[in-house]
Homo-oligomer: 151 residues x 2
Amino acid sequence: MSSYDDSFDKLDDLSIVDSLVQLSFLIQNILARIGAEHDLSIIQIRLLGILRDREPGMLQLAKHLGLDKSSITGLVDRAQRRGLVERTVSPADKRGFNVRATAAGWQIIHEVGEQIERQITEVTAGLTESERAQTIALASKILITAPGASR
Amino acid sequence: MSSYDDSFDKLDDLSIVDSLVQLSFLIQNILARIGAEHDLSIIQIRLLGILRDREPGMLQLAKHLGLDKSSITGLVDRAQRRGLVERTVSPADKRGFNVRATAAGWQIIHEVGEQIERQITEVTAGLTESERAQTIALASKILITAPGASR
DNA sequence: ACTAATAAGTTTGTAATACAAACAATATAG
DNA sequence: CTATATTGTTTGTATTACAAACTTATTAGT
């Protein structure tokens, strides 16, 4: 059992494991598809997502994304090359940079954000208002329970 | 709004979008972490997951995984090199192979499957029995609503 | 103030993942 | 029996990710 398999599956009679795993793939596929429309991978979306309310240094980015610092260099390089992001020298530390979204970056952040909003709203359109509230409550409860929560 | 960002987030007052996105990252992180313990990526886990109840050809694998056929060659190659999987010549079609799990592959499938079962059960341990049932029902309803469902 | 240890990022080398276009071999249709 | 379609691999390219070594700047210790 336990279909962590994501593919053509009968949706009846799912276990809690199957239902959460499949739901997670559904959401991730939505993110990936929207990203693809803007030539962004999920990790690039997450990068921009972080820059919505922060201007972190490279190490902080690594921590947020759960990646090695050496992975961040290239990630930011590629986003920078596309003009979505820029490095600004940290005033207090001449080694460090802060990373922040450019105007073009903000443009994409908003577009992608709206599309995510819309499409996830769409897949939950079959729920009643009360079911939507239940979903939020249950998801939050699971997230709180989880060690390290969303990380 | 809409924190498709996965990181250190306040979990109060989430929208339906945020809660589902964060939940999906939580689940995917669990899968990734368990995979890593066995030196498997999520895509390799999915490959093995498919082989639990099928012996598909390469093109069918591509369809199941939503990848180009050219991506499957390497994916199966690497799994085969590790002895988890084997190609068997299709009797009806001398061009085609069927892919199936080896004994070592089944071993991993079971171990990984049990760990996923256990750890997802764990993060839902804070739910009551009735909440667990609700979660399944709501997730299923969302999965059914979604176009192409789990794909 | 000066050296030693730390910290912030980058570089280098390696591997997995993914695609697209071109290709080989077999199968099927007309 | 030739033309076409199908199955899978190959080749070339880009992204993602890590670990170890390295550079430069910062901080501690004496």
